[in-house]
Amino acid sequence: MSKSKRTPKELLPHLFRQEYTKMTAVLCRHFGLDHIEIAEDIVSDTFLKASEHWAIKGIPENPTAWLYTVAKNKTKDYFKHIKLFENKIKPSLKLNKKAAQIDIDFDEDIIKDSELSMIFAVCNSQNPTEYQICLILQILCGFSLAEIANAFLTNRERIKKRLLRGRANLRNSNFLIKTLDQKEIQSRLDTVLKSIYLLFNEGYFSKTNNQLIRKELCLEAIRLALILTKNELTDMPQTNALLALMCFQSSRLESRTNHKGEAIKYDEQDKKLWDKSLIEKGNYFLIKACNGNKISKYHLEASIAYWHTTPTGESKWEHILHLYNQLILIEYSPITALNRIFAFSKVYGYKKAISEAEKLKLLEINYYHELLGYLYSEEDMDKAIQHYTLAIELTKSKTEKQTLIKEIEQLRKKKNRS
């Protein structure tokens, strides 16, 4: 599944991203998820043929249609071979009749349905997070091994293993692509949304400093969520809320890091770099998300992200704190608990926030010490330095270490002056 670089045109990689998963998904309807590799091989072959053919004869008038036709023919050829094999070599076995009368259709609705079934098949909580994200990237986003390895800052071999195990788990858990049934879709939608959210976070909080990769992961997550909103069965309030959340967050992607890839604190971000069109899209989906009675955690997180896109007004932080209060009641997470304290400090001051924070006792989490370092920096500089030092010991991120070292240096300077 190599992304062809041989074609001089920029078109092919673009088409690959756009069509690879659609084509694999449609073909998988005929092969079943058990034989997804066959579908993937046929689609990869199709792109290979395109790169050779187009380099000589030029790009056809309708490149997508060209790809679909070739993939169709290749699939028919494949089934012919199977037929030959089955009839001549294994005459005892009956040929699958469906395969004999194969009719592959790349009709718009079929693509839509196939893609949706594929998303539901791959986003499977049977697999651990890292496996899920690798599988999503490979099967649903058409990423190459090298690209996935890059995103995870690890080597190809490790990713290959994850993918193999992940695929085996998918087969074992019988997550076959069946017809999309409303009940099943609804009961599994939360798992799918969670996987998409994980993919997004992998990009947003990525270990890699490569801004391009991060952006691409975030955009892929948005693309998958968009597919869900285009189908009646999955266009639910929580889907729109997740989409709104991802749009708001992505609007700050450019301003979150400097050219060295170091994180820039929210207060110090250049708001001119925020992507206004993404903020508008976030607003649109957030309004759409309010078409129901159910408030999901994505609603709350999207609303928090919305407030972060607005200028600091009188009651901004009260609203944010209120949302964090609701969020922590829905689902406990240490990061939510710590973010809530940050909002609390903006409303009730650092002193009260310190006593709230110290109740949490999240001594093993670097962000806990980072937060306390921040809260203590006015009150008690020695304590602030102590906490920042602990945070440095705990964090695995190099850029974060550097940011914290700078913080300590500034505190020391301030201390010497006073």
């Binding site: 209120h322 209060n325 809530r340 109740k359």
Partner: protein, 113 residues
């Protein structure tokens, strides 16, 4: 970790309708416990009005509310996880109910299986 019910009582029915500030304070308190991952059940409010509260007594005697004989009445409860009763007491101490003269009863929960 043990489980404790915190049972809230107030003295004056007028205080039952909280102001927005009081709601905010209560919410902060509840979320503060959830933030320590110690909230087991956010509980419920128990309505004290005459139409919502009756006491059933022997010999088919039904009285309005709990407040004919005792002055204070229960308005709600939450269930928390705590190391011991002192830990649960510490959580209760931070509740804003004391500002309006209310009190909190802390009771260890023994589970019926």
């Amino acid at each position: 970790m043990k489980e404790y019910a915190l049972i809230f009582r107030i003295n004056d029915i007028e205080d039952f309708k909280p102001s927005p500030e009081q709601i905010q304070e209560r919410m902060n308190w509840l979320a503060g416990i959830a933030a320590q991952n110690k909230l087991l059940d956010k509980g419920n409010t128990l309505l004290p009005g005459p139409a919502s509260a009756k006491t059933v007594k022997p010999n088919n005697i039904i009285t309005d509310g709990p407040y004919t004989e005792i002055k204070e009445f229960i308005v709600g409860y939450v269930i928390v996880k705590a190391e011991d009763i002192d830990d649960a007491i510490e959580m209760a101490k931070a509740n804003p109910i004391f500002k309006i003269g209310g009190n909190i009863e802390v009771r260890e929960v023994l589970k019926r299986d």
